[in-house]
């Protein structure tokens, strides 16, 4: 039904009504806010909590917020954490086991599920793509991750397109932004913020993207004044996206990138990167697609009850690859190679898509400012010239 896709325009009061309607329908709403000098995702009840006028200045190893007093509430790019902690918790109690004597059956109580409806307001297009990647890994494999499945249930995803990318963004190269792609279908509403500094507050172009999204828009229409989009609005939006796209500074040539990565296993660049990399794991913690976890068990003093916990883990840690008494990847070079090769190469083999959505977080939050976009050209050149690399396999 094409009418379902018809966008409407609301003002900031209308956006508050949207939040109110979501809450009335039983959702806990989350959205971006300024917390500790960064844009962070927190529970949200009022549009006044949104970062009005704030924008970010990001670079390799650099992040600063400043307020330029514009009317926009979404005039910045991604903060340090995406929505990943809400969907794939950093620390999770998965189950308890009780056993009084070694010969008793173990009673297992599973806790890794959550209840309640949630709505995420302000998901950026690249972040939505990252959720698509997590869905593939945690829901579409031969087995499903129980905790993630319950976190993904009863969830409204409301995308806000990017109009002010950061200098670290390279979504255009990865085909993940600055506007949500038509190929993505997991969200419910798509919003674009229109800011015209001459005629007052921001306006929001809201397009339904699912049946639930369309229903919310119907309720919204009965509660607040919505206006149809004019031709001029459509032109303004297009111009906004063109501006956003042309402001993107970083680029990655993704042509045969999988093959380039696979052919680069013996490249000397890894050792050079290892001289700079601290193996701190910041890049894996901020990356919206990194999903690796470890399990550990904690027992009470009597040894009767065991709590099984799951934590985010990082392939930069030595323990991560431990087999028997030794790690497989003991050098930092091999760990950096593993991380980047997984993101851009082997992720395709494992999950048929890229593990990188071009959000730039690993560039911003690397304490020594390692920038993958600056390293890839050298890998490509070496891989193409043959060098010490092996012939590439078929294009992925």
């Amino acid at each position: 039904m094409p009418t379902e896709r018809t966008p409407v325009i609301i003002d900031i009061k209308g956006l508050q009504v949207l939040v109110d309607v979501l809450i009335e329908q039983g959702n806990e709403v989350f959205g971006p806010q300024v917390i500790d000098d960064v844009i962070a995702i927190r529970p949200l009840t009022s549009v006044d909590q949104l970062p009005a006028g704030w924008t970010d200045d990001q670079g390799a190893g650099r992040y600063r917020l400043h307020n330029d007093h514009s009317h926009g509430r979404f005039g910045y790019a991604v903060g340090p954490q995406a929505w990943k902690p809400l969907l794939h918790e950093p620390t999770l109690h998965t189950l308890s086991m009780t056993q009084s004597h070694a010969a008793d059956p173990v009673e297992v109580h599973v806790t890794a599920t959550r209840k309640g409806r949630r709505a995420f307001l302000g998901v950026r297009p690249c972040e939505l793509e990252a959720i698509v990647r997590l869905d593939t890994v945690l829901l579409r494999g031969p087995n499903v991750d129980r905790a993630y499945r319950s976190a993904r249930s009863d969830l409204m995803l409301i995308v806000v397109n990017c109009t002010v990318p950061a200098s670290t963004c390279f979504c255009t190269a990865m085909n993940t932004g600055p506007r949500v792609s038509e190929n993505v279908t997991i969200h419910d509403l798509e919003i674009t913020e229109l800011v015209n500094e001459h005629d007052g507050g921001p306006r929001y172009v809201v397009t339904p993207a699912s049946r639930q999204g369309a229903e919310i828009l119907d309720v919204l229409g009965s509660r607040t004044s919505t206006v149809a989009m004019t031709n001029q609005d459509a032109l303004d939006i297009e111009a906004g996206f063109r501006r956003a796209e042309s402001s993107i500074e970083r680029h990655v040539d993704t042509k045969e990138l999988h093959d380039v990565m696979i052919a680069s296993s013996e490249n000397a660049l890894w050792a050079e990167l290892a001289d700079r990399c601290l193996a701190c794991g910041n890049c894996t913690a901020v990356c919206p697609t990194c999903f690796c976890t470890s399990v550990n068990e904690i027992t009470d003093l009597s040894g009767t009850t065991t709590e099984r916990w799951r934590h985010w883990d990082s392939c930069f840690s030595l323990e991560f690859s431990r087999v028997g008494n030794a790690p497989v990847r003991s050098s930092v070079a091999s760990r950096y190679r593993h991380w980047l090769t997984h993101k851009l190469g082997t992720w395709h083999d494992q999950f048929d898509e890229s593990g990188c959505v071009g959000c730039g977080r690993c560039i911003t939050w690397c304490p020594v400012g390692i920038d993958l976009t600056a390293e890839i050209p050298a890998l490509r050149t070496a891989a193409l010239s043959g060098g010490d690399s092996r012939p590439a396999s078929g294009d992925q």
Partner: protein, 298 residues
């Protein structure tokens, strides 16, 4: 948008199995024969593994070493190398362990039918091969000659030695080798050296036998299927040796070991290049493996 759920058979939730019987194989290897006490695992195939654990200590991937035709009682042959395996090896009869599984791709036995079969093990690597060997021996009319090559550090560390001797009695070409014959060298009648050193003689001669039986059959050398389990370095050397003898890499299967936390393809630990070992392995062919083991620290 809400994601549609599909029913899971709870491969992430441990269930209880009791130790029915235990046997010490070597000073640090024991076999635990387990039976279901609360719930039971789905059927398994040789080469698959379970996550077996002791509540409060942890759980680790261990292959099922008993034949797949006994679907109730499962055996695990475990070498004590760390926190969890040490406790498992010390488990007593009647103790309850937790299990999840079975996981992973099994040995592809069907592809070996009609040809010769070689099982090549290093150390504890004989454990994941045992169920496959039992199956081949049981259905031996479907296969050509059966070769079992086992390498260990010392004679005392040969796992399943009595069983291997009994296999030899039934006509299986069993050859053992050790790195060091140890103090009682005079009582060791097997070979000394690496297991790879046994291959040319054992496999090469088998290929000739098959060729004699089928004169002019160019494909006979390819009709040897090899099943490997052992340390990475041993398996790589074995693959090289077998390929030099002309064995088709599609017919060389190996079972791989990597760190595993979840065994259901979601923890990321068991990656080896493009493979997730718990999902795409642990059994892979030499073709699938490519240069993954020869690339250092992959």
């Amino acid at each position: 948008m809400t994601v549609t759920m599909r029913p899971a058979r709870a491969p992430d939730i441990p269930i209880s199995y009791g130790v029915l019987e235990r046997s010490d194989e070597t000073h640090d290897v024991a076999t635990l024969r387990t039976y279901p006490v609360a719930g039971r695992l789905p059927s398994f195939a040789p080469g698959q593994f379970s996550m077996i654990g002791i509540a409060g200590v942890g759980e680790v991937p261990i292959s099922i070493s008993s034949p797949a035709d006994d679907d109730t009682a499962h055996s695990y042959t475990i070498r004590a190398i760390g926190a969890v395996t040490q406790r498992l090896v010390r488990a007593g009869v009647g103790d309850v362990v937790t299990v999840r599984g079975p996981f992973g791709r099994p040995w592809d036995m069907a592809s070996a039918e009609g040809g010769d079969v070689a099982f090549i093990a290093g150390g504890i690597g004989i454990a994941p091969l045992r169920a496959a060997i039992e199956e081949v021996v049981r259905d031996r009319q479907r296969y050509g000659r059966i070769i079992v090559l086992v390498g260990a550090t010392t004679p005392d560390n040969v796992v399943f030695r009595p069983w291997l001797e009994s296999l030899r009695q039934t006509g299986v070409d069993v050859r053992l080798t050790v790195d060091r014959p140890g103090p009682d060298a005079s009582s060791w009648f097997g070979n000394v050296g690496l297991v790879t050193e046994l291959i040319v003689d054992a496999v090469g001669s088998v290929s000739r036998v098959v060729q004699d039986d089928n004169p002019g059959d160019e494909a006979t050398r390819d009709r040897l299927s090899a099943f490997l389990c052992g340390p990475d370095a041993m398996m790589m050397a074995t693959v090289v040796e077998l390929e030099q003898l002309g064995v088709d890499p599609d017919h060389i299967q190996l079972t791989l070991e990597r760190n595993m936390q979840c065994a259901i393809g979601t923890c990321g630990h068991c990656q080896l290049g493009g493979l997730l070992i718990c999902r795409d392995g642990p059994v892979v062919t030499a073709t699938q493996l490519g240069d993954a083991l020869t690339t250092s620290e992959l």
